[in-house]
């Protein structure tokens, strides 16, 4: 299933159960898949038009009144464009606003450099009170949204729109603020987030051919980071690689380095965008361009073992 279908299906169910939930869009309800909710819940869906700053402010006002707004737009417009609105009207004001940034990083594909956010996590992660979740697949995002909506406070949900590469199966049980050990291993810890969990999973197969057993952790939350799960794994394997669909500045790599620096100083090898802007291309082409393929992850793991 597509991420957006899973999200809309989940929200439709939640909105039936909770009449405080509202949806806000900035003229992207069709691409983001929220459009069907407007027919089902016409009073609680607001298409604000092409005015993201206004959308975030309106969401804060709805929240101040006791409603639970969920605001959707593409990841760059959901974060860097409305940075101060999130900082002041949402995070500092402690408002219960959920912001969904779609098509983060290279999943913006043909929309290219202007629409390709490699810095969205960095922008929102630095605000106190913010929670940052990077969705792995459709099965996870359905469960995660249910749990995140129970939090009385702001959160940033980062999610591609289109079809997910499956990582988790129907037996999966999402735990709020918990990382998942996707596969256990002893030689190197690979911590991945978002779509990079699927890519890292492929890298595990390559490493197995060399007799290397990597432990794959899906971080899920960049903030708060599940420090316990990550540290236990690093202390066991003594080697660590991070993989993210984001800049190495301010995202998962930074968050893990901040933790490792404090608790168990050592080398951390990062897979992610290295101080560059985006560009047009297919997902596969961009994965290659920014050195984020399973092969790249394989080399990174080998390097960490040196």
């Amino acid at each position: 299933m597509e991420f957006r279908q899973a999200m809309t299906k989940t929200l439709a169910k939640l909105m039936q159960e909770d009449e405080k939930i509202c949806i806000l869009d900035a003229d992207l309800s069709k691409p983001n898949g929220t459009k069907p909710l407007y027919e089902q819940f016409p009073n609680r869906c607001f298409d604000i038009g092409i005015a993201e700053a206004n959308m975030i402010g309106i969401a804060a006002g709805l929240s101040a009144y006791g409603y639970k707004p969920v605001a959707f737009t593409f990841a760059p417009f959901a974060t860097r464009r409305v940075c101060d609105q999130i900082a002041v009207s949402v995070a500092y004001a402690k408002q219960n606003v959920k912001i969904v940034g779609t098509d983060p990083g290279i999943t913006a594909e043909l929309n290219g450099g202007t629409h390709m956010s490699f810095e969205d996590i960095a922008v929102v992660r630095s605000f106190p009170n913010m929670i940052v979740y990077d969705a792995v697949d459709d099965i996870q995002v359905s469960q995660a949204m249910k749990e995140i909506m129970k939090i009385d406070g702001p959160a940033y949900i980062r999610m591609p729109r289109k079809k997910a590469q499956p990582v988790f199966d129907e037996d999966y049980k999402f735990n709020l603020f918990k990382a998942d050990i996707v596969e256990e291993g002893t030689d190197v810890t690979i911590i991945a987030s978002g779509v990079m969990v699927a890519e890292a999973k492929k890298a595990l197969e390559l490493l197995k051919q060399d007799g290397i057993r990597a432990e794959l952790i899906s971080a899920n939350f960049i903030k708060p980071l599940d420090e316990k799960t990550i540290l236990e794994s690093i202390k066991k394997t003594k080697h660590v690689v991070t993989c993210e669909n984001h800049s190495l500045i301010g995202g998962l790599y930074s968050a893990v380095c901040e933790l490792v620096c404090k608790e168990c100083p050592q080398k951390v090898v990062g897979i992610g965008v290295k101080n560059r802007f985006g560009q047009v291309g297919s997902y596969a082409e961009l994965l290659k361009e920014y050195e984020m393929t399973p092969q790249d992850i394989y080399y990174a793991a080998k390097e960490s073992l040196k």
Partner: protein, 265 residues
């Protein structure tokens, strides 16, 4: 009403003088509208500052905090002693309005342009809740240089938010100069009319005119209201008024405070 406004002016000055400096000009210019709102129109209860269905005020020009605190003090939300803690570390009264610190403050503001969007969100929420509340919002004329003010205005009219009553503190000044010399609104009445608002322009420091304008605004059925308050920045105290644009944030000594209080008597 006039005597209450005078009391609030005194308290505003005492509040700012307690730390020796602050946003005096833009606080004094809105004292009259605050007086009419809290002592005539707003359905609020100082004993229950978070009461559901209450009328709400978003002071989008958040730097006017001291005038709002003085009004809340006059109304019974804040004890007088607390009024004299402005901007002291860990105070409940920071220079810019903070809903999580001060009982009676309905929205956190200070980064200009954002408060009107929040008020639009509240007006939508009130319509959803069908609680019959009015949402009031005060924006500055300088603040209206922010694009978000116009994004919010467009959408308020689109959604026919007749429960939203906005005031423009049209005092003609901003930090760097007179607004006409920086980036003029030229004709704010025409602008907001063309945006779909019911617009009135009045003497903004007249409690009688403010009261009557709010009554007319409340009679609107399908339009948000804009009440343009032609005000004087620093209104009420001659030596502050004559300072002009420099009264946005200025020092005030004990002697000046005494002189000002004398003038108000």
């Amino acid at each position: 009403m006039e005597s209450i406004a005078k009391e609030i002016r005194i308290k505003t000055l005492e509040c700012i003088a307690s730390i020796g400096q602050g946003h005096i000009g833009g606080s004094l210019s809105i004292v009259d509208v605050l007086t009419v709102l809290y002592f005539k129109h707003m359905h609020v209860d100082p004993k229950k500052p978070y009461m559901m269905g209450r009328d709400r005020l978003v002071v989008s020009k958040g730097h006017a905090g001291p005038a709002v605190y003085a009004t809340l003090c006059q109304k019974g939300y804040i004890p007088y002693d607390e009024l004299l803690t402005l901007n002291r570390i860990h105070t409940k009264l920071p220079s810019h309005c903070d809903m999580n610190k001060t009982p009676g403050i309905d929205m956190t503001t200070g980064s200009l342009g954002q408060g009107l969007s929040c008020a639009v969100g509240m007006a939508l929420a009130s319509k959803l809740a069908k609680d019959g509340a009015y949402i009031y919002c005060i924006v500055g004329d300088g603040e209206s240089q922010e694009g978000q003010i116009w994004e919010a205005s467009m959408y308020a009219a689109q959604k026919k938010l007749s429960n939203l009553i906005v005031f423009l503190d049209n005092n003609g000044m901003q930090i760097d100069d007179y607004t006409k010399n920086i980036n003029s609104l030229i004709d704010p009445a025409k602008k907001w009319e063309s945006f779909g608002f019911y617009v009135q322009e009045i003497i903004g420091n007249s409690t009688i005119e403010i009261d009557s304008a709010i009554q007319k605004a409340k009679a609107q059925k399908d339009k948000p209201s804009m009440i343009i308050l032609d005000t004087i920045k620093g209104k009420g105290i001659s030596f502050i008024e004559t300072v002009g644009v420099s009264n946005h944030s200025m020092p005030i000594t004990k002697e000046q405070l005494d002189k000002a209080l004398e003038e108000l008597k």
